[in-house]
């Protein structure tokens, strides 16, 4: 007993040191180094880094293209989570508790087992493939554009646009594609949460004559709120990225007039098109700060009374 107590700290240290060491080496030190690199001028092609203080940050302040990227990231940050979570909750509740079939009080709508699989399809596609497919959805009709051809086929030819050729649509195209790509995951996530809700609560609500919407608002939503909160934070982090979709669909310059740019692509461009790794690291630090701020804010704003089930 005394021997064990005596050897407790070395014992614990022996187990803790390797993982903490690996974490520090591969996670923490890159952050610190990135911050240092952001204070230098470095081409990324040689070992020479020149310390220039905050010049990169001053340059960022005056960079109009970076403002466009930031604006787009903020649009993605606000619109994509709202759309995705709304659709995710709607589909999940329809699949799990939205049905009204005789014999079963709480069930999904007809065919829900099929929908469950179908909704998950986009999630198994790599973002790269999603982006390439959607580049053709929004292409001009004579280049195989699916959307424009569809519009023409149903007699709405006057609604056709040069989607990817029009600066004003670019960020909204990204919104649509990201939402499409992400919603399936949240359907599954919320489905799991909803299935853990005791059925008798629903039955009680039904006996009281509650409508589907009321049931959703008063029963389902409060009981899956924890999951929604996690989903929201996760979604916000994803919305700050958007790199793969923008880079593949619109190119390294963020599309026509750079109107579809996002911070991730701006970093890539600074690093690999301009060979200005210092500036790229500075944008990276900005992105880090933004992401952390957003996560903290979301966690605070979304905090709510936890409902105990038992």
């Amino acid at each position: 007993m005394t021997a064990l107590r005596h050897g407790k700290y070395p014992f614990i240290l022996a187990f803790l040191l390797p993982p903490v060491g690996i974490y520090a080496l591969y996670m923490l030190s890159p952050y610190v180094q990135a911050i240092y690199i952001s204070l230098t001028r470095w081409s990324g092609l040689s070992a020479t880094q020149t310390f220039i203080g905050f010049d990169n940050y001053v340059e960022m302040w005056n960079d109009d293209q970076l403002r466009t990227a930031l604006r787009n990231n903020l649009i993605l940050l606000v619109v994509v989570p709202v759309l995705t979570l709304f659709l995710g909750l709607f589909f999940a509740s329809m699949l799990n508790v939205g049905g009204r079939r005789s014999g079963q009080a709480v069930t999904g709508v007809r065919g829900s087992s099929v929908y469950k699989v179908v909704y998950f399809f986009p999630q198994v596609l790599p973002h790269a493939i999603t982006a390439i497919v959607f580049a053709y959805v929004f292409a001009p009709s004579n280049a195989g554009g699916i959307l424009n051809n569809l519009l023409e086929a149903v007699g709405l030819g006057r609604l056709t646009q040069l989607w990817i050729g029009e600066p004003k649509y670019l960020v909204w195209i990204i919104v649509v594609v990201m939402t499409w790509g992400f919603v399936g995951f949240y359907v599954v996530l919320f489905s799991a949460a909803m299935q853990s809700i005791p059925r008798d609560i629903y039955e009680a609500a039904l006996l009281d004559g509650s409508s589907r919407i009321t049931t959703f608002r008063k029963v389902t939503l409060p009981l899956v709120w924890d999951t929604v909160q996690v989903g929201w934070v996760y979604m916000a982090i994803q919305a700050m990225d958007g790199f793969a979709f923008v880079h593949i669909m619109l190119g390294v310059n963020g599309g026509v007039q750079g109107a579809g740019d996002v911070l991730g692509v701006a970093i890539y461009r600074a690093a690999f098109a301009e060979y200005d790794f210092g500036y790229a690291a500075a944008i990276g630090v900005l992105l880090l700060l933004l992401t952390m701020t957003i996560v903290v804010l979301f966690m605070r704003v979304l905090r709510r009374e936890r409902v105990e089930l038992a």
Binding site: I37, S46, N142, G165, F243, V256, F272, A273
Partner: protein
Amino acid sequence: MSSSIERTTSGMSSTRRTFLQRMAITGVAVGPGGAFLASCATSGGGDDEGDSEPEPQGDVSDDNPLGIPEDEPLEIYIFDGGFGDEYATDVHQPIFSEKWPDVEINHNAAVDIGGELQARFVAGDPPDFVNNSGDGQMDGAQLITDGQLYDLSDLFDAPSWDDPEVPVRDTLIPGTIEMGSRDGTPYVLNYAFTVFGLWYNKTLLDENGWTVPTTWQEMMDLCAEIKSAGIAPWVYQGVTAPRYMNWPLLTMAAKLAGPEILVPVDNLEEGAWGHEAIRESAAALRSLKENDYFLPGVEGMEFRDAQGLWARGEAVFCPSGSWLENEEADAIAEDETFELAMMPEPLLSEDAVMPLETVRATAGEPYIVPADAKNPRAAMEYMRAMLSVEGARGFSETVTSLTSVAAANEEVEISAPGLASAQEALNAAGENVINWLYPTWYPTMENPGIDQATGALLRADITVDEWVQQCEAVAKEIREDDSVVKQTREA
């Protein structure tokens, strides 16, 4: 230069291919995980200047003019893209090995050159010879600025492979060495040779009895006729690369007012883009949109889709370089009757200073020897073998491209009709070959800078005056950016 342009335009397709690899590098900077590159980056692990060991050297003799060590291995990286790497393994390496059987060639092919080699450059441990091309190409100008490239003067001064009386320098098409030089020191060997012009659907022209226009007025008349026949007169590279239209734009302006108007453009002089001839040329190209002569929807297309529609007979004229035939080989092969040919850009006016036959042509496809290479002398010897007539002709036959080796171009039989017409056009041009260098010197000035301005011009979203203002603003930004090393030329 062409390759720097090709690199960016072949962007979309190779982007898809190489993108995940590169994500591995960037992903880092992107996400909060952001900076793994850094893990070795700031550790000061690189070879600093000065501490590198002296390069191995053999005795200099008539047989070994570069003094290469006869038994040291040579590590080679070839870009495995449009040209593949068979030309290296099947043509150049046998020529080299025949002379130097004891030099072991360590051959590597890579799709993403920068992705594979950037870290090795930083660490001071690069290969001996790099074909720095493709989507993952490392910025050549920046490599020179960072002192990462080996001075190739000895190569160009050495006797040529075929004739000891003639130095390598004199076997090359004039302008080749300058393309890869800074302040008179050559650092990059540009090996392939690209001719730029308007590529047209010869089958359609012949079928309809249309003739190749020689003036812009004839071009406009022909466009009207083509359009009334239900075909689109022009395409360009859509959302991907409207900058391809800069090539006819600047070429026509130079024909109108002389090649000296391109010098201030390259030298970033204020007002260079506002020259009357450049304005006139821009107005001419804008009139294609005003008259609805572009393929419908082209401004929203990927460049391969636009070029593919052209190759399938949906449009007649397409601006490009001589790689187009290779790039669209699949679409071209679909229809056996389809024949393409290159024409020089029409003259804006009868009183143009330069003749119609003037073309823009330049050496491209860069090959470099890193300054920290272990065996740089052998790498230069390999370049000397590439520049032999046999090596250059073999390259042309394998990859359907001209080379910078003048004698090889004369002797090579080109079976591809498009490239043959480009070769003819180049011969017809004689001395009247022009080029400009700002896209090589300042890649971000061309793209996204001028590229976006020209894109807007071609959509007729802006007037010619606004286009000039935007181009001037882009030039000004580069001019005033202290971190960019400036270059100038006199003629």
